[in-house]
Amino acid sequence: MAETTRTSATTIDSAACAPEWTEILRQMIFIRRFEEATEREFRRGKIGGYLHVYSGQEAVATGILSAIQKGDIVFSGYRDHAHALTLGADPCRVMAELFGKATGVSKGKGGSMHLFDAEHGFYGGYGIVGGHLTLATGAAYALRYQQTERIVVCYFGDGAMNIGSFHEAMNIAGLWGKQGMCPVLFVIENNGYAMGTSIERHSALTDLSARVRAYSIQAEKVDAQDVFAVRGVADRVIRQIRETGKPYCIEAVTYRFSGHGAADILQPYRTKDEVEEHRHRDPIMILRNRLREICGLSDDDVKKMEDDAGERAAQAVKFAEESPVPDPRELFTDVVAEHGPQPETES
């Protein structure tokens, strides 16, 4: 199997100082603050169920989703807050969803694992590992069938690559791609672990991009703690997908700083040192330092961003807290189309 190329953006040109990068930094900082708030609110018992936060992986959401266009569609797993937020979902409504409130993006019916915001192109939020890959593949077909130039982005974890639906989706995407009918960007969020199982222990072949090439789908690795690198690949690749209608895969090599979920306190599968080491490659720090060094971003600017982000996260919590719970009648809505051809199920 050929060596996997690894892209990294060591050469930074003047475009690096475009205002957009400040926006990306702002967004990454906000995601971090937002996730910290969710962890706090989970401990306070305000958020229920499972909670999977994104801290450490911010460059994957922002680097790629800043490169797509309006009308593009995004699918994700259960670690989905950052994707929804980066697409423009209202943080207040995202937090309200986590609180199980009527004002939530999914009316409080979905929760953390099932954020959904069709208006902003976010098509969920799924809890069965690997289950949404086939959905994304079908969505990509639909967009091409409808003769649009829209594309699909589909996020999933390294661990999801071992389940059958990954395989079926990839092979179908590869086949449809040959007809130019499958404009989808698969993004492996390779954070090294499926819950507590490291890649070496869950994947027979540890070169994940190589696995994807076995479906005749182009794939490349990128150092995803470096949002410049991610964005660089994304720009090029998304253009290609849009032009060709063929799938592509980015293996975003990243790391999660928090536990797998809120219950993963002990983390017996990795050492404190390992986590600490990766904190030296915090994607926020990397971008911030670069903007400081090259573009003259000041400490004050950064401080202001941090404060703003904290403020917005706090506002989201406040909004969520003050929002009403769903009306009990909501229990029975959205089961089937209310005005579909079928009468209500008798009870």
Binding site: I73, F75, G104, V105, S106, K107, G108, K109, G110, H114, F116, D117, A118, Y123, G124, G125, Y126, I128, G131, H132, L133, T134, L135, A136, T137, G138, A139, A140, Y141, A142, L143, Y145, Q146, G164, S165, E168, A169, N171, I172, L175, Q179, M181, T333, D334, V335, V336, A337, H339, G340, P341, Q342, P343, E344, T345, E346
Partner: protein
């Protein structure tokens, strides 16, 4: 009205809807070049081309899951399962995704898709290829599950399914494909879900069934009439979810006795729900407990003699009718 086979009724429903709406497409294994193992899709690839008649790899989860994605984006995919037995590998895509995404998204998407294919015992297809799935799917909210028993219903209900907004499990019977019946010509002829019908009138006993067993029940009813002078009212449920038992209740109010007929294993089968519901609603009207006629509780054997013993036939229905009438 014209006489048509159940098979042609299904094909026509699909083709008329594909003519009517370019968002309708079909995918499945060997439905295009091969023209379908049961030839339901014969001629369709030639007419509609490979973008709308998609031959897939052997990947039922992939088929069902991609259909969900297509449906969420506005297409109306029909998935042909070569037989419904193979859809078990797609159960997660159907039960956890198709059936639930409307709900957990708070109603942000429609999921207009149809999963259709034959189910039930054929001739010596043995354990892995002979199962029925109305209970399997019927338990899950978010799905519609239908079991047409006639060519007209096959056509009319498939049109309803294709035009709807929800995932529909459309359960055919290979044994019915050759069956003929009158089918209305109207391009807009549809049969709504959740409306069962009286397939035969009678006053002595109520037989409730659906799908292929409806036809067996009708034959049993004729025999009962000819041989015993017992007039059975036969109810065709047509859809399993939503389930309409009003006509069954009305019939029991008249007959005071009911037999439910289902092809597969008794424990936790569809007949249990129907019997339990009839009892709940019509307890005071019942002169005997609702009887269930079902297949034997064993995996389907290959040998023809055993297979015939495993599935219900007219004699079991007749015996059950006599039992609820205390004629035994």
């Amino acid at each position: 009205m014209a006489e048509k086979t159940y098979r042609d009724a299904i094909r026509e429903a699909m083709m008329e809807e594909m003519d009517r709406d370019t968002n309708v497409l079909i995918m499945g294994e060997d439905i295009g070049v091969y023209e379908g193992t049961f030839r339901i899709t014969a001629g369709m690839l030639k007419k509609y081309g490979p973008r709308r008649v998609i031959d897939t790899p052997i990947a039922e989860a992939g088929m069902a899951g991609t259909a969900v994605g297509m449906a969420m984006l506005g297409l109306r995919p029909i998935v042909e399962m070569m037989t419904m037995n193979f859809a078990i590998v797609a159960a997660d895509q159907i039960l956890n995704h198709a059936a639930k995404v409307r709900y957990f998204s708070g109603g942000q998407v429609d999921v207009p898709m149809v999963i259709r294919g034959p189910q039930g015992a054929g001739v010596q297809l043995s354990a892995q290829h002979s199962q029925t799935f109305e209970t399997f799917y019927g338990h899950f909210p978010g799905l519609a599950v239908v079991t047409p028993a006639t060519p007209a219903d096959a056509k009319g209900m498939l049109k309803t399914a294709i035009r709807g907004k929800d995932p529909v499990i459309f359960l055919e019977s290979a044994a019915l494909y050759g069956m003929k019946g009158e089918v209305p010509d109207d391009l807009d002829f549809t049969v709504p879900f959740g409306q069962s019908r009286v397939a035969r009138e009678g006053s002595d006993v109520t037989i409730v069934s659906y799908g292929r067993m409806l036809q067996v029940s009708l034959i049993a009813a004729e025999k009962l009439s000819n041989d015993e002078g017992i007039e059975a009212e036969v109810i065709d449920l047509r859809s399993i979810r939503p389930l309409d038992l009003q006509p069954s209740y009305a019939s029991v109010a008249k007959t005071h006795r009911a037999v439910v007929v289902q092809e597969q294993w008794k424990p936790f089968g569809a007949a249990a729900e129907i019997a339990a519901s009839i009892t709940e609603e019509m307890f005071d009207d019942l002169d005997a407990p609702v009887a269930r006629v079902t297949g034997e509780d064993v995996p389907m054997p290959y040998a023809r003699n055993l297979e015939l013993l495993a599935t219900p036939h007219e004699p079991q229905i007749i015996a059950a009718v006599k039992k609820v009438m205390y004629h035994d």
